[in-house]
Symmetry: C3
Subunit: 425 residues, 3 copies
């Protein structure tokens, strides 16, 4: 749980920053991550740059704003919650009628106490978000509206880190940094991913290289893919988009297009034993950057991974997605799953028995020397591993067939290799 607390504290530090898909918020957030892992590389891509079918938009920054009564009293203010200003709002400063104002106010009527999170990235607009209950208290004839924003050519910012392993084959982890003050659907991903970087760095031996991407959602991953397409296609053998990995309710997995990649196989195997009631979602429910990594023509083996899945939990995209929603335990659970995923991938070889018939385990101290019913249980996993180590099954398949978690099988595999009874590949 030490890692859980470290992750939670880092999320708390990042929480107040007003991030968007471009601008100083993501830069400041990346700099905080780089205080811990300085090797993260940061890139800037100028507004107007074409990325596949898209174009990098103008950069947006917001310093303040709100709705005020004509006597100066505050109705809502950016400083109270940066969700109050609609993302990518153009600047405004004027007095307007209540009727006009209402056309610029967004609420979530079925969740009347919460401020919704709303953006208009690709059409110039301005707007405010507030709770539906507060909206009902607006009765003045006129109000002053202020948005101190800039929307102008600048750049889109992202970061990545490649930790080399024995092979150029890569495992990809990707998460996003582009939402203002939200905890589960913004900060849980980066803080878990940062802790995962620490874990990968300290591994004494790495079969795979590991790539970690921090980028704004959608336009950021499209940009990242467009600039790294050849190497991603060549090297990535499995990948995971970390999103909403901080609460403590369940575990969720979003499959690839056909659900049959190494990434699907490993995460389904790990979750089946880690949390048998985990939720499996089809690619039809995709919503984060697995959309882009798995899109036609890109088709990388990248799954989505969440605790409670985005769109599915009530606080999603509202002011209720705050630091109370996530917990050290929630973050730790997500980290544990990803650590098991890495352990599985690192050991996922095809194992093959070297002798015909069952080996005599007794003479090697691997089998009880007395035979009476009820004495076999402890060696069942060992014998079943041997039974399916025919060189056709990789470790994940053996685990799935014999219904034993990989963590039980890894030491068995090592013991059998040490005894000269099996070989890898």
């Amino acid at each position: 749980m030490k890692s859980g607390l470290v992750m939670y504290d880092l999320a708390a530090r990042l929480f107040p920053i007003c991030r968007s898909i471009t601008g100083d918020g993501i830069r400041e957030s990346l700099n905080i991550l780089r205080e811990i892992i300085p090797e993260i590389q940061v890139y800037e891509v100028p507004s107007g740059t074409p990325v596949f079918d898209w174009t990098i938009p103008n950069e947006w920054n917001c310093r303040g704003g709100g709705i005020y009564r004509l006597n100066g009293d505050k109705v809502i203010d950016f400083n109270d919650s940066n969700l109050h200003i609609m993302g990518y709002s153009t600047p405004v400063d004027m007095v307007i009628s209540l009727q006009e104002l209402l056309e610029h106010i967004y609420t979530q009527p079925e969740q009347p106490d919460w401020i919704p999170y709303v953006t208009s990235y690709y059409k110039e607009r301005w707007g405010f978000c507030m709770s539906d209950n507060q909206k009902k208290t607006l009765t003045d004839e006129k109000y002053r509206v202020v948005i101190k924003s800039t929307l102008a050519p600048g750049s889109l910012t992202y970061g990545d880190l490649l930790i080399p392993g024995e092979s150029e084959d890569e495992i990809l982890f990707s998460t996003y940094l582009c939402h203002p003050s939200m905890a589960n659907n913004e900060l849980s991903g980066p803080v878990v991913q940062l802790e995962l970087i620490k874990y990968v760095k300290q591994l004494k031996h790495r079969r795979y290289s590991y790539r970690f991407v921090f980028c704004p959602e959608t336009i950021g991953s499209i940009t990242y893919i467009s600039r790294n397409f050849e190497s991603l296609k060549k090297n990535v053998k499995a990948g995971f988009v970390l999103s909403c990995v901080g609460d403590n309710r369940t575990y969720s997995y979003i499959s690839t297009m056909y659900g049959n990649t190494l990434a699907d196989r490993v995460i389904k195997n790990v979750l089946k034993f880690h949390c048998p009631n985990y939720k499996e979602y089809s690619f039809l429910t995709r919503g984060s950057d697995e959309r882009q990594y798995g899109s036609v023509g890109v088709e990388l083996p990248v799954c989505g991974f969440c605790r409670s899945k985005y769109h599915e939990y009530p606080e999603y995209h509202t002011s209720a997605d705050d630091m109370n929603l996530i917990s050290p335990e929630g973050l730790q659970g997500a980290l544990d799953v990803m650590v098991k995923v890495i352990g599985t991938l690192e050991n996922n070889y095809h194992y093959k028995m070297m002798c015909k018939c069952e080996p005599q385990l007794g003479k090697r101290g691997l089998y009880p020397t007395i035979s009476q019913k009820g004495t076999y249980d402890e060696v069942v996993a060992l014998c079943d591993f041997i039974a399916y180590a025919d060189g056709k099954n990789d470790l994940i398949q053996i685990s799935d067939i014999i219904n034993q978690p990989i963590q039980i099988l890894i030491p068995i595999a090592h013991k059998l290799i040490d005894n000269g009874l099996i070989i890898k590949d």
Copy 2:
């Protein structure tokens, strides 16, 4: 529903004719169909002609007959119901004892009010059919029996029509004309098929050629296949036997031998959305001409299609299968399904996205410019179509995977082609 009434009225006109697998009844019926679609070709195949393992039988015609008391009173008479004379009865005119008569009377004891439909095509016999209740009233010592039939060399009659399309690849529709006065299990098929011919004729563009066959069941389809084997094998890509398509209770589909042809795929897809509770029957329940089209050595991709399936509804093969059993709505529903089948086949290409990552739909007016939860639903079908348009899936597969009916997907496909985002094949 206009078509439904037209079809119903035509069935009513055809109903009184005494048809069999040969004879003037089928000729007269085909002539009535040709009043509407004169392009239907009619063929005569002489008795004695070998067709695969079979031989065209003698031609049978019946002008009247019945059972009479010796005082001349009618017990049953052909003019009251042509079901009273067993199909292919040899001529007879004599007085016989009740005991002898009973050996020539067929009833359906478990449906005691209805006259059963019975035939003896391939062994010379004579017989009468009547309700079991009426049979119990026979108490005279002797009766006069009369059958004014002829059974002699003649020919077997069938009709077909080929409407050419852009390709020689064909879609086949086949139905039968060989039962006396029955409505669902005789006339529903020909009247729906005739309306389908009108529909196909008026299509501005036809990717496929369309073949329509009207023939007596079993011996007729065997004859048809034997005389058109090479072209059927070369051209038919999917086909449907229309049988019992006039009632209003359910929809049924009889699969091909292995259930995996284009015909199976398209009709299952259409019915899944048209009537989710439709009934799927295996090839083991085959009973109409899908038996021959799908037989070993022929193996054409031809499914059976019914509303209530033959053998399964109580009125089947009895006098209760009359004009009250079918309805304009029932016929219209069957026509609608076949029209959807044609629309699906005409548009069933492999579609492939031309850009990597998701396209920017917003700039093309295909995506909402504001992002708030709950605003995505209308574009889900569009985005999911794009996600699976990888060139490996045809339209039916995309529909099955993303669970959207083809009618929703066809305009989406056209819109994306117009925008240059996807290509066909």
Copy 3:
């Protein structure tokens, strides 16, 4: 049931003999079998011979022994039950304290009235087995313990028989002889296998050759495989390990590694019709010699077959597995299944219809000449056989698809061959 009684009586004759994995007990048992089938070959493999990863152990024989009070009164004695002496016990004759004695006593506390069956083949020990209730009556300070055994270089004994057929392709049956007085988990297999030999010998025509193996479990089958590896790999097309085939409670089948061999297919087909509630066990529950035949590198298509499966019935490996547990009916049922398995394999060809469309069965007397609903049932199996005799399905597949037992289909196949309508292969 005549065979059932013969088998039961033979088991009763073999029951008292003290068998182990080596020694005179198995020799004496094989000699009794050879009185009936003298063609069974017997082999001796010297102690110390390497067999794959194993070594033939020293030979063990036991002439008597027991636990006695110091006044000479018997507590337990080998002559009352040979289960009282732990298998492969080293010789002993001394007076020891109760405390020391208890370390050498094995009981099955959850089945307190029964003597458990315990062995220590590969580590030198001595011990006694008794009921847990009797153990509780031991209260003397000291007891005399005697085991009159020898454990010394000798040999391992097994037998086999190959009955040649038209082809060198073989069907294998294997059972074990290595337990002392137990009925279901020892003698049921050999007596059913012996009766099966009689059945195979009297077959007028044999498509396959048949191999029958009688060997001690595990070390015996490993020895057998190591000495016959090339010919087994080349010839065996399907095989069955007969174990616990004498009780009357259910039927059980233990699948091969992937459950997809000819052996799996045939036994599942036969059992599905013979006893629809039979139990199917995965290879993960393997426990008899299917473990060795199906081990990595050997990978022969050999399933396990039981009535109540070893490990699963309460009397397993105790003194309650006696002649009351098995019955003539139980043995007969197992024999019947294996006879059906042989019948299926002998007739399991790919059948192919020679005419296009359905044949005219009526002219061959194979179809009713009158058509009325309800008259088809008797010819359904015939028509469905024809429908799937496309040369792609073997008889087992046809049976599985059309859901008719092979015994119904074999005469149909012969009738259609006689009529020239189908060919084999």
